[in-house]
Amino acid sequence: MRRATVAALVRKDLFTVLRNRGVRLPLILTPILVLGVLPIGLVVLGQFLIETAPEALAEASAGPLGQVADADARQQVVRDLPSEATWGVFVLELFLSPLYLLVPLIVATVIGADSFAGERERGTLEALLHTPLSDRELLAAKFLSAWIPAVAVAWLSFLGYAVLANWLLWPAVGALWFPTAGWVLLALWVAPGLSALGMALMVITSARVRTLQAAHQLGSLVVIPIILLLVLQVSGTYVLSIERIAGMGAVVWLAAGAALMVGTRAVRRERLSARL
């Protein structure tokens, strides 16, 4: 594989991502909504309700974390933080951790959908297929051109979220409490793997469908496991402990590897050419 050739194609795709408002907008809006507007709203609203309705405070203190069946997991969240921070910690650490994973996943799928289906729709795929790029170089370039922005957005969002979380709970905690070890693991281990998995799935999908719209529709299905994880987490059925996060990351990376291997079979010049 020739790195310079792959780099040229990655550069082209990154330019397109940065200059195309249709692709750029979800990259900016997703983290702002998921890791900005949503936590602020939930924490502020929760604190307001607790302050205006004291009975809700009792409910809340026994409430969300009371649902967590696993005592170790409950302790992991509450730690030795003051009780008035319980609601905020629940929202910022527990509730939003699965949602954080949506950020790299959505970024990867939006760009991934564009990788082949978008190129085909714009007619630029044929020009690429007529170049000396090998199938593996094409796949590697398309993978990297979605994976790099997805991971970059995930990590930048994580940094921004850390600042926001500390700012929101500063009055209650009075110290830097975030990021937790679990979140660090999520950001550094799971998010890149999930970006790879989302991208690999989208490359396979995108190479098989004819239109960008069809690729987006199929791509939207990849968020279902995240929603399921959110439900399990909030209901207290499956709280993400450090061990579980590490294990989830390993599974995600393995799945990404498997999907990439399938992707190498999907991205064949003749197969793509026959669908032009």
């Binding site: 082209k12 630029t124 020009a127 007529h130 000396p132 790029l133």
Partner: protein, 327 residues
């Protein structure tokens, strides 16, 4: 030496045979045109030649290499203009070219020089930094052609190179293609449905129909293949043209200008001239009407020559000619 060699090449898509037993050689430095309707198989054939599609039957060689097995090397040696001038919309004209130069591993400095040169030659120096999405269809086509040339390939595969171009731009592109062959020794295989372009630009022409090459040769050979002389063109006076109705000698008469009419069909020229003079019709020039490439093209596509088909009876021709000649 044949740079492109096709032997009984067939490519099917399910039940559809897009390319059907095509045999064609393109020699070094030659410009060969694939002439045919949309759907005749021209684009598929170009994709087979460049190794994008594997032929179901037959043999393809480009610079003596199998483009499917040695696709990487073959595609280094070919520059392709696709049917639609698809450029990356969010990249400038120069960025589009530089990206392809990088993919072809052209050293950066050389690539920059080539890009500037190509944009100059195609009349695009002012558009260098314009995003492709802001270019007109014609300008996109020119940039796409420059993209095909940016790695200086010995073989050019051009799919409808002058589609969307205005006459001046089309002429520029034809000049560039011609000089690519004559000055740079490039071998060019181009598809077109523009008869005049094929005739002017190509050393040889292959007419495709339903995936098959039904005729091939030089423009002159193809005109000859279209059949014998099909009539005469007579240059006369305005008044004389008006009086030709009475002297039409049993042939179809078609006005082609106020002073020129064509007699179509087998014509006994001396007798025709005698009759015209007998009717006091001045005759300044008589020349045989040679069959055109269009005549052959229409014949192989099962259509009668347009002039006869659309002008109706000889009487109608003459009636039509009279008022025009009189004015």
């Amino acid at each position: 030496m044949a740079i492109i060699e096709l032997r009984d090449v067939t490519r099917r898509f399910g039940d559809l045979t897009a390319v059907d037993g095509v045999t064609l050689d393109v020699e070094e430095g030659e410009i060969v045109g694939l002439l045919g309707h949309n759907g005749a198989g021209k684009t598929t054939l170009l994709r087979v030649i460049n190794g994008l599609l594997r032929p179901d039957d037959g043999q393809v060689r480009v610079t003596r290499l199998d483009p499917f097995r040695d696709g990487h090397t073959v595609r280094h040696r070919t520059g392709v203009l696709t049917e639609y001038p698809a450029l990356d919309a969010y990249l400038s004209a120069a960025e589009n070219l530089l990206t392809h130069a990088a993919i072809h591993r052209v050293p950066r400095d050389l690539a920059r020089a080539r890009v500037s040169d190509l944009l100059d030659r195609l009349g695009l120096p002012q558009r260098r930094d314009t995003p492709a999405r802001d270019l007109s269809a014609g300008l996109k086509q020119r940039v796409a052609l420059a993209r095909a040339l940016v790695h200086d390939p010995p073989v050019l595969l051009l799919d409808e190179p002058t589609t969307n171009l205005d006459p001046v731009a089309a002429s520029d592109v034809r000049t560039l293609v011609r000089t690519s062959a004559t000055e740079h020794g490039r071998t060019v295989l181009l598809s077109t449905h523009n008869l005049a372009e094929a005739e002017v630009l190509c050393d040889r022409i292959a007419i495709m129909r339903q995936g098959r090459i039904v005729e091939q040769g030089t423009a002159r050979e193809l005109r000859t293949a279209a059949g014998p002389v099909t009539g005469v063109s007579v240059t006369t006076s305005v008044e004389g043209a008006a009086r030709l109705a009475a002297a039409r000698n049993g042939c179809s008469v078609l006005p082609v200008s106020p002073e020129t009419v064509e007699f179509q069909g087998p014509v006994d020229v001396p007798k025709l001239v005698q009759e015209l003079i007998a009717h006091d019709v001045p005759v300044y020039r008589v020349s045989p009407r040679e069959p055109s490439l269009e005549d052959l093209y229409r014949r192989v596509h099962g259509r009668a020559p347009e002039r006869t088909a659309t002008t109706g009876s000889p009487a109608a021709h003459t009636q039509a000619s009279t008022p025009r000649s009189a004015t």
